[in-house]
Each structure stands twice: as C-alpha cells, then as structure tokens.
C-alpha cells in the first residue's frame, strides 16, 4: 500500500539530476514562436519526434504561481543509450524557458519533479535529448482560470 513518497523520491533523486533554472524576467508575454525558437536552439534545428515522454500536470491549475510538474522519459539509461538533457518550456510565460535538466547514465531514470509558475492558460512543452542525438517531445495544456462558481 505504501507509495513511494515525494520525500523519499527527493532523497533518492538528490544528486541524480542537475537542473538549470531560468528566471522570470517580467517582460512582455512570449509567443509560441519564442518557445519554438528556444526548442530549435536546444535541438540545433532538428524536429523532435512525438512520444516517450509522460508529463504529469494538472489540466486546470489550482494556483498558477506554483504548478506541480513532473515528467518521465522512457529511456534505457545505459552507458551508451541515455537521456542527457530535458528542456521544459512554457509557451505563454513572459520568458518561455522554464528549466533544463541534465542527466547521466548514473541518474538511473530520466525523471524529475518541480514547480513552475504559469502566467496564463498555455501549453507546457517537454523536449528530451538522447546520448545518440535524437530528440523526443510531449506537451500538455494547463488552464489558468479565475475560479469560483463551480458546483
């Protein structure tokens, strides 16, 4: 019955993935084009293939200031075949780049959990890069709503 708790997961995960966070610059709202540009920079212009990535995000955010996000990339994580980097972008944020996660075969799994801030209803796009230079992507729409009036 016991779940692998977040507390336990954090303990396991410590040191297994390094993360580069990107700040909230407070500037003009980004466009899907700006997000696409970030992705193109990450992939070196290659078009990522859909699949291999599962994303856990709420359909409707309970609190846009801190939205729980976790992802898992289906990968063997062996010395010759592993996911090395994962880019997370938020299409509708002032600065679409959320974070880049860095993995090694020693990470064991290409999984991570964090919290992100969402300014408005938008797609969150996750792109994974493998050691073999292939790219995979997945996305999910998160709605940010005024709230109330339900029931």
């Amino acid at each position: 019955m016991r779940h692998l708790t977040r507390r336990a997961a954090l303990a396991l995960g410590a040191g297994s993935a390094a993360i580069t966070l990107v700040g909230w610059n407070g500037g003009a709202f980004a466009t899907p084009q700006a997000a696409a540009d970030d992705i193109a920079k990450f992939t070196g212009g290659a078009t990522p293939e859909k699949g291999k990535i599962s994303i856990e995000l709420p359909e409707i955010a309970e609190n846009g200031n801190t939205v729980p996000l976790s992802f898992a990339v289906d990968a063997p994580m062996t010395g010759t075949d592993y996911v090395s980097d994962v880019l997370v972008v938020a299409e509708g944020n002032p600065n679409p780049g959320v974070a880049t996660f860095h993995f090694t075969p020693l990470s064991g799994k290409a999984e991570a959990a964090t919290r992100i801030r969402l300014a408005t209803t938008q797609n969150i796009v996750v792109v994974a890069k493998t050691s073999g230079g292939k790219f995979y992507t997945g996305q999910k729409l998160v709605k940010v709503t005024i709230g109330g009036c339900g029931g």
Partner: protein, 562 residues
C-alpha cells in the same frame, strides 16, 4: 432493454393519471403507484450496488425540478445526460405526465408536483436500502458519491454533523466528497475519523510532500466476489471553491493515478472494479474511454438522473440524480473477473408512496429539532415556480439577483451557477428552509465592488469555458454564472474569449462599456477575507419586503451554437 421495461411498468401503473394529472389528488397518486411498483426488480447475479449521490444536505423529501437546458458540447453533444424535456422522454421511452417523467424531467413540473408530491427523504431511502439488503443478503454495497454534508441550514449550522449522524444509520460502505471540503481540512478530518466506513479519495495529495491524504481504495467481498471500490473526489474543488479552505490539499483528475490504482486492484485479485466518482458525467465518460479495467463508474457532481446505464467500452456509467430523489440499484453477475450480465434501475423515492423507516424518521426529526422553528418560518409567498437547475438561469437565481441589486444598490448582480437548491411551487409559502436550500455555504458574504465592463466579460468567458470547453477534462461541472441587470448572447460552440457578445446593461438599455466601471454585487467569492452581509439574510429581507414573489421567465440570455 430491461431498464426501459421496468420504467414502463411504473408508467403503466400510472397511465390513468396522464389524462389530467393536475386535477388529481395526491391520495389518488398514492393508490395507483405502490412501493412494490417502485422497487420491483428481477434480481440478477451475485453483486448489488446501491448508489446515492449529491444529497446536498436534504434529510427530508423535496421538490426539485430537473433542468430544461443542459447542453453538451464536443463529443458529448446530444448524448445523455445532455437531453431534456421531450427529447429525454423520447430517448428513454417514458410516457409524458407519468411518474417517471415527473421525477426525471422539467416537463409539466408544477402540475405533476401537485399530483405526485415530494420525492426523497432519508427515511424513504432507508426503507429501500433495508428492503434490498434483506432480499440480497451478503451481496450489497451501498456507496455515497459525496456532496452529502452541505446544502441546507442544518448541515451548514452543524458543519455537516446532522448529515453524518443520519447517514450513519444507512451504514454506507464508502463515500467520497466535494462540498464536504468547504468545512475546512480540520473539520473534514474530524468527521472522517468518526465514520464507520472509509472516505475514499485517490486524487487528493498534500501540497507539501505530494503524499495521499485519504485511502484510495477499499476491498470488499460480496456474493463471493472480490470488489475494489476506488474513490475520486471532485477534481477541481480548490478551483471552483475557496482554495484557502483546503490549502494544504491538492486535487486534480490524476488519470495516471486512477490507472495505477485500477491495475493495482486487479493485481490484488479484484474481480470487480468500481469507481465511486465525483468527477462529473462527461469527465467520467472520457476517463472510461482512456482507462481500461473499470467495470462500473458511479458518477456524481453533475446531478444527472438517467434511467439506463451508459456504456463506454466495457464500463457501465450510472447517474443517480441528486437531492436524495433517487437511489440506483445495479445488479451484476460477475464471473471469472468480468461482468457477464447486469440489470439496472433508477428508483425514484416518491415520498407519498414509500413507507418511511421509523428509526430514520426519528433521527431526522432529532437532527432538525434545533432549527425546526426557524426552518418553518414563512418569509413570503411564491406566485410562480422558483427553481434553480439549468445551464443559464433559474427563477430562484433571478430572485437572488433581484435581491442583490436592490439590497446592495448595485447595477449588476452575479450569482454562482450552483446545481443544488430545491424548488418552491407557485402558491406555496417561501420558508427560511427554502432560502437556505439555495444559499447554505460556508462563504456566504455578499461583496459590493466596482468592475470594468472588460472584467465582467472576462468572468463570463471564464465560467462559460468551465462549462462548455469541448474537452471534459477542462470542465468544472457547475452551471453558468447567473447575472442580474446584465444581458448577453452566448455561442457555446466558440472557444474561450469568443463565446460572449452583445453584453447589455439592462437598466440603461445600453451596451456594456469595456472601460466603464459598474457597481457589482455578488456572493460566494472564492477570495479569503470577503466582507459583507450573509446572502440568506439579504434574500430574506428582499422576499419579506415583496411579500409575494413573481419571477417572469428570463429572456436576457440569448443562446446559440447548439
């Protein structure tokens, strides 16, 4: 179809009423419709599920008019439960003016209400539950889909205690929740600890460590069948209701978690998997199409009453109505880990036909005693039918909006599109109980503030998208926010931002100016620290000043895209 035949039996028994239902006495209805008619069931298989949901604090029988407008969008367009009136009767082969037509539709409501009387009451429910348990000894599970502890003066005043005490006599096997959470985390935990059965919610986690707050699943053995019951609370409680009241708990549909729990239950030997859900019907229909291995979803939240099970692949979806009007009976023949056959009946609890259970009557009387005098106090009279349910407006809400405009000297009134709230017949007194049945919440303060026309449009668009987003996972299941002093057009088929047009300030007869500020009065704000009088006091004052209330049909919302 078995269900239809069962319903036709009820209809046939009451066919004589069809000619002139309005003029016939209730005693006559009682002679023609019997408890045996209502509960007759040709048992099948080794398991019986009894399901109640969305009782909303109603211990006593009620008048509750079902919706005349209940639109489906996207893949759900035109499908049950998005059928009303004649379309509903035709789809399910129900005779107009029959007992079933009265219980399940808005057609001829006032006339039929006078003939058939009130429906529901926990003491009538107790009679049927006892009867089925006696008939199907050791095979029965009674499951409560939640929204049980809120919706009346007694429930609100006792913070759910009256409902908990009375429901305990029914000995449910499990429940889940939604409005229960608006009593706050501490009170919910306190009440849950006092239950003799589990409160199941696989989709609630604490916000700090992401750990489960409640049990996800309970295993039972009935009729030799291992049954897993999974609980799913209303996924958008912290969005639709004040998040500060349950700030340490995070909800959500969590489809992956549902899938994981179903797989785990099967691996643990479950031969029957039941999801006790407060997702809302369309969310459950989508969930059933994406998660394999659920045999039955007992749906809730959207208050739909359907006389037949809806099938999605191998999953049966049951919709048991609201306000204690119905109990669902689903018999299942489970062999080798699969449902081989089933029979279903939505049993309307006609209060004048089903004999009340004495022990429950006593418990209900005791629970209501502290408020009895206040509940029956007459405030005014209704000269037209007061009801709430429907996608866009109800006369009870129009009355509330009129009260908000007048008592708070506002230009525009906003009232939440709740689906709960009972009906008052023309000619009947309006009591304090009736007012609280439409307003009893733990955040009742009436605000008064300035909003620009642009902000008003944003609100209408936001709520409309919660109702008409073509993807059910993005719907919240309430009805449209009710407006006083404001008219608009809505095209339900458009995307967010484009549904609302032609907003009009009715008193001035002018279009709403996006840049102008309007004085707006409303209630049920999800923001912490909202100040103002309680909505029930304000509505009472308004009705008392009017003495007799007549609400004309609402023509200020123009609907298209259907």
């Amino acid at each position: 179809m078995i269900t239809r035949r069962e319903m036709l039996q009820v209809s046939a028994a009451t066919a004589a009423l069809a000619a002139g239902a309005g003029g016939l006495s209730r005693a006559f209805a009682q002679q023609r419709l019997t408890q045996d008619d209502l509960t007759r069931f040709d048992a099948v298989g080794n398991v019986t599920l009894l399901h109640v949901t969305d009782i909303h604090g109603q211990l006593m029988p009620v008048y509750f008019r079902e919706p005349s407008v209940n639109l489906g969008v996207g893949a759900a367009k035109g499908l049950p439960p998005h059928l009303t009136g004649t379309d509903f009767l035709t789809k399910f082969g129900i005779a107009p003016k029959s007992a079933a037509a009265y219980a399940m539709t808005d057609r001829d409501f006032t006339a039929l209400a006078k003939s058939y009387g009130k429906i529901g009451g926990l003491d009538r429910l107790a009679t049927v539950v006892k009867q089925v348990r006696a008939e199907r000894d050791g095979k029965v599970l009674l499951l409560d889909g939640g929204d049980t502890w809120q919706g009346s003066l007694g429930a609100n005043s006792s913070r759910g205690q009256d409902m908990v005490d009375c429901m305990a006599l029914l000995k449910p096997d499990a429940m889940t929740g939604h409005w229960e959470f608006t009593y706050g985390e501490a009170r919910v935990q306190e009440l849950v600890k006092s239950l003799d059965f589990p409160f199941l919610a696989l989709n609630i986690r604490d916000t700090e460590w992401n750990e489960p707050v409640f049990d996800a699943v309970k295993m039972f053995e009935k009729g030799g069948v291992k049954i897993a019951v999974l609980g799913q609370a209303f996924p958008y409680t912290p969005v639709a209701n004040p998040r500060w009241m349950m700030s340490k708990w995070s909800f959500g549909i969590r489809e992956e978690e549902v899938r994981a729990q179903v797989d785990k239950a099967r691996a643990a030997g479950a031969q029957l998997v039941v999801l006790l859900s407060h997702n809302g019907f369309d969310v459950d229909r989508k969930l059933a199409s994406r998660v394999a291995g659920i045999d039955v979803i007992l749906t809730g939240h959207t208050h739909d009453a359907l006389p037949e099970a809806v099938t999605v692949g191998k999953t049966l979806l049951i919709a048991s109505g609201s306000h204690g009007k119905f109990v669902s009976r689903l018999d299942l023949d489970v062999q080798g880990g699969a449902v081989k056959s089933y029979r279903y009946k939505l049993i309307p609890l006609f209060a004048d036909v089903i004999k009340p259970d004495a022990a429950m009557t006593a418990a209900v009387t005791k629970a209501r005693a502290p408020y009895a005098k206040e509940l029956s106090r007459v405030v005014g009279h209704a000269d037209s039918l007061l009801y709430r349910r429907g996608n866009f407006n109800g006369t009870f809400d129009d009355l509330i909006c009129a009260a908000l405009l007048k008592e708070r000297d506002a230009e525009i009134a906003l009232s939440p599109g709740f689906r709960w709230g009972t009906s008052v017949l023309p000619g009947a007194p309006i009591t304090v109980e009736d007012i609280h049945n439409a307003t009893a919440i733990t955040y009742p303060q009436v605000y008064r503030l300035a909003m620009t026309g642009e902000r008003l449009k944003e609100i209408l668009e936001d709520v409309a998208d919660n109702l008409f987003n073509p993807d059910p996972y993005y719907q919240q299941g309430g009805d449209m926010v009710r407006c006083g002093g404001l008219g608009y057009s809505i095209n339900v088929a458009k995307p967010i931002g484009q549904r609302i047009s032609g907003m009009t300030h009715l008193k001035a007869g002018k279009p709403i100016d996006p840049r102008r500020e309007y004085t707006v009065a409303g209630w049920a704000s999800v923001n912490e620290g909202t100040q103002g009088p309680n909505i029930w006091d304000l509505v009472e004052r308004h009705i008392a000043s009017q003495k007799t209330v007549r609400v004309a049909p609402n023509s200020s919302v123009k609907i298209s895209g259907i």
